[in-house]
Symmetry: C2
Subunit: 197 residues, 2 copies
């Protein structure tokens, strides 16, 4: 009976997180047909961890980074996606997301609630090399999509080069070997007219 | 220069696989607003591996299973999604997917092409406990969605209980501890009128 109830909690969590597929981000997918949702974004960055692991700082752990990337945005089910350049929304983001983490991970059995909540806290705190590597990937992905989309959300919201460079800073920390690639991509976007200076 | 060209290949792969977000499956997401796409499906099952790992057979490896689940469907970018109950489509599925694997993993540097292609082959061959566990999750997820969706694709295509049980057989192999949960879910669907006998 303990086992059944444990599995029931796990299945309830699995069903609940399906709602992440309904949360839309500002970035468009590369055929520009529609905004990206957070579930598919999470898939993309989790797979990026495997492909780009060789650029991670020495102490980063691939399994932990992958799990972190798979779960770090599920709080958006309750808290919504807060656009990177939305200053008002970002003032209340931390509190809204803490409450969401409490409820969503709380659907799981206590030991798994604790494990995933710790991983989520670790990502938010950005103090470990694993969390820093994960955050770098989370920033690089929309840069690549915006480049493919001729400027995408930057043009839509009039975001300029300096703010994009600032937004990309976690890459210099969590994947320094990829910083020059990021700089080059930004300069290519400026040269192509996708991003204003 | 070798390094730049290696990173260029990795980025090309990352951009190309964005197209998996455009591949639609037959199953609907739980708000029933639209079909699920394969990228978000892959996210869902990869995260299920973490949550349900305690039900895996003894030799299964979580990192390998997670990577496998993240990549196993990217061949659908070229080959499309073949509906589980489409007998004609399933006759040509293997060849179409082999060609897709060749092209898509071939975008990566040789060592990574080899690593991910091996993982993909391992999933397809279903000979290891890791692959069997991964396949079990890949079957359980649409069962849960169809149950949430009052029968979903089963009702749409007139699929009956025996075919669903047959389709779920990999669960008995790759996550035997979850088989009774699967049977119960199927019987609940029958009792609720979501699935015909």
């Amino acid at each position: 009976m303990g086992k059944t109830s444990r599995l029931t909690q796990q299945i309830a969590f699995i069903i609940e997180i399906d709602r992440l597929k309904q949360i839309l981000r500002q970035t468009y997918i590369t055929d520009q047909s529609r905004p990206e949702n957070t579930a598919e974004h999470s898939w993309h960055i989790a797979l990026m961890a495997t492909v780009l692991m060789e650029y991670a700082p020495p102490g980063a752990d691939l399994l932990r980074a992958t799990k972190m990337l798979l779960i770090h945005d599920i709080v958006e089910i309750d808290a919504g996606d807060t656009f990177a350049f939305d200053e008002v929304g970002n003032q209340t983001k931390v509190e809204r997301e803490e409450q969401a983490a409490e409820r969503l991970f709380g659907l799981l059995p206590p030991d798994q609630n604790s494990e995933l909540r710790s991983l989520w806290n670790e990502f938010e705190a950005q103090q470990t090399q694993t969390a820093q590597f994960a955050a770098a990937l989370d920033r690089i992905q929309p840069l690549l999509l915006n480049q493919q989309n001729q400027g995408g959300t930057w043009r839509k919201f009039g975001i300029r080069r300096d703010r994009v460079i600032e937004r990309m800073r976690p890459v210099a920390v969590g994947a320094p070997a990829l910083w020059s690639m990021v700089e080059e991509a930004i300069e290519e976007c400026v040269a192509a007219g996708y991003l204003d200076t």
